[in-house]
């Protein structure tokens, strides 16, 4: 049994495509068998909604009269600095950017109540944002400062462009030290009193296509409530990690760089987050459709939380020191019960990735496809596979030029 994306798209256009979420397809295949399921099901939709720090948006702000060259100058959006090393009025605002007058961790743990992600959320919610810029002035761009309000309606282009989202599996964080620590995986109490995990598990896009058979550059996706695309393999792409049943990685592995029109998006699926003592980040909603082109591709979408193992890592020492120790491996089915057992000790668990919203995303994408509003795309290039030789390199410090 094989299908093509063209055939599936024709069924979508005729309103006849059979679309199931990555959770629904598990039960369907159990009931009807894999062979029939592969024949019947055209698309499986996935979803995830979790903190994804490597996110941000670029804006083309339009030209004032007289003109100002913000490029090379400084730009604040609601007090949060945007990157200006581009053309005159193009800027990039990152999710983790903080106002220069935020006390950060000077009084530890800092609150980080407002950063780049929150500015992006407010813009997407239709709010006005204050733009303050300073420039050095040139003959063709004489103006040296501007202070005005902007919104998504006034900006020319507003594009979400995230270098790394949708991690394929992730660490479970614990703290083996004797004091509380504040991390990007939450507040971790001493003596391994609690653990945080962060994946949509059996709903997660790349865990349903673990060997990147269908997801690639150019794949059309649900992004932040609108339509986006996979732009590139995400940063820190690391496909060569140990893998279990059906090629499902047991460590953080693949990632996606994604892009999409911010003006279509919805703050429900693009939300600023604050991590005490760590910083700001953005929860990004992503849903990737998986075309069921073969029985093999369907088999991958049948992955269950009980079959996905995640490494338990000590964030008081192993992680900050870039150590490699994995204390234990636990499944997402265990993590979702609210407690795991690590070395004989019971540890309370909690997620950072919203299961209810991941389901909502997979469900919305399913609806879009069923209603013929969303057609699938053929990837124009693949992502590097487990045998590609692509791996994660550390930053090793060397002597400076002239110090040898």
């Amino acid at each position: 049994m094989t299908k093509t994306i063209g055939e599936i798209n024709r069924r979508i256009e005729q309103g006849q495509a059979v679309v199931l979420t990555a959770e629904e397809v598990i039960g369907y295949a159990e009931q009807h068998g894999v062979e029939k399921a592969a024949r019947d099901v055209d698309v499986v939709t996935t979803g995830t909604f979790g903190p994804m720090c490597s996110s941000g948006a670029y804006f083309s702000l339009g030209h004032s009269s007289p003109r100002i060259k913000m490029g090379g100058g400084t730009v604040l959006m609601n007090g949060v600095p945007a990157y200006t090393g581009l053309a005159a009025v193009d800027v990039f605002l990152g999710a983790t950017a903080m106002p220069p007058d935020d006390p950060a961790n000077m009084i530890h743990p800092g609150e980080f109540r407002y950063g780049g992600a929150h500015v992006i959320e407010e813009l997407v919610a239709g709010k006005d944002v204050r733009l303050t810029a300073q420039a050095y002035g040139t003959d063709c761009y004489p103006r040296k400062s501007i202070d005005t309000m902007i919104s998504l309606k006034t900006i020319n282009e507003a594009v979400l462009f995230n270098p790394r989202n949708a991690y394929q599996n992730y660490n479970v964080a614990v703290n083996r030290s004797d004091k509380t620590i504040y991390t990007y995986l939450g507040i971790l109490r001493p003596g391994m009193a609690n653990a945080y995990y962060c994946s949509a598990g059996q709903l997660s896009p790349l865990l349903n296509d673990p060997l990147y058979k269908t997801i690639g550059i150019g794949t059309r996706i649900f992004l932040g409530g609108g339509i986006g695309y996979v732009a590139w393999p995400g940063t820190q792409f690391n496909p060569g990690v140990p893998r279990g049943v059906n090629g499902v990685p047991r460590r953080p592995a693949g990632t996606l760089a994604v892009i999409g029109d911010l003006k279509q998006m919805n703050p429900r699926f693009l939300s600023g987050m604050s991590f005490l003592g760590y910083g700001t980040t953005m929860a990004v909603g992503i849903g990737v459709p998986i075309p069921i082109l073969s029985e093999e591709i369907l088999l991958h979408t049948l992955v269950k939380d009980s079959e996905i193992l995640a490494p338990v890592v000590d964030y008081s020492q192993t992680y900050p020191e870039r150590g490699s120790e994995v204390i234990a491996e636990v499944s997402y089915a265990e993590l979702r019960t609210g407690k795991i057992t690590v070395g004989g000790q019971t540890v309370q668990t909690a997620p950072l990735s919203s299961l209810s919203r991941a389901r909502e995303i997979a469900g919305s994408l399913k609806e879009w496809i069923e209603q013929g509003k969303f057609l699938l795309t053929e990837a124009v290039a693949g992502l590097p596979g487990p045998d590609s030789g692509v791996s994660l390199k550390p930053l090793n410090e060397t002597l400076l030029e002239g110090e040898k």
């Binding site: 979702r336 309370q348 909690a350 997620p351 950072l352 990735s353 919203s354 919203r357």
Partner: protein, 135 residues
């Protein structure tokens, strides 16, 4: 049998007198003193859990008020702004009173404030700053 948690403020004039004990003798209620700082002659405060029938608890609380105490129910002190909550679950792993739970069916994060002691830790753990302390 239900349980309600209160924060009591004792004016200096009342702090030296037996008040809370009357909940047992007059209203047949049980109680747990969760935290207390009362010096006779000075102002004082107490976190009190009262156990009994709901109507008896209401009468007991009214009695405490009639004695000049300020009485605030603890589970009304912490509020969730539902519009801000994204259901991530960070609070579930942090609340010492286990007020937050993920629904096994829907995956939604519920806030069950009956057990809340208004400690305020969820205000810090919440990544969306969706928890508020009502003063």
């Amino acid at each position: 049998m239900t349980s309600r948690r209160f924060i009591l403020h004792f004016p200096a004039a009342v702090a030296g007198r037996p008040v809370v004990s009357k909940l047992a003798s007059q209203f047949h209620l049980d109680f747990n003193i969760l935290r207390s700082a009362i010096d006779p002659g000075n102002e004082g405060m107490m976190y009190l859990e009262i156990l009994g029938k709901a109507d008896a608890i209401a009468k007991g609380a009214a009695f405490l008020k009639s004695m000049g105490l300020s009485v605030t129910q603890l589970d009304q002190q912490i509020r969730r702004v539902d519009d801000r909550c994204t259901g991530c679950g960070a609070c579930v792993g942090f609340c010492p009173a286990r007020c937050f739970a993920i629904d096994g069916q829907t995956g939604a994060v519920g806030f069950h404030n009956q057990q809340c002691t208004a400690c305020g830790l969820c205000l810090k753990a919440c990544t969306r700053r969706a928890m508020e302390l009502v003063l």
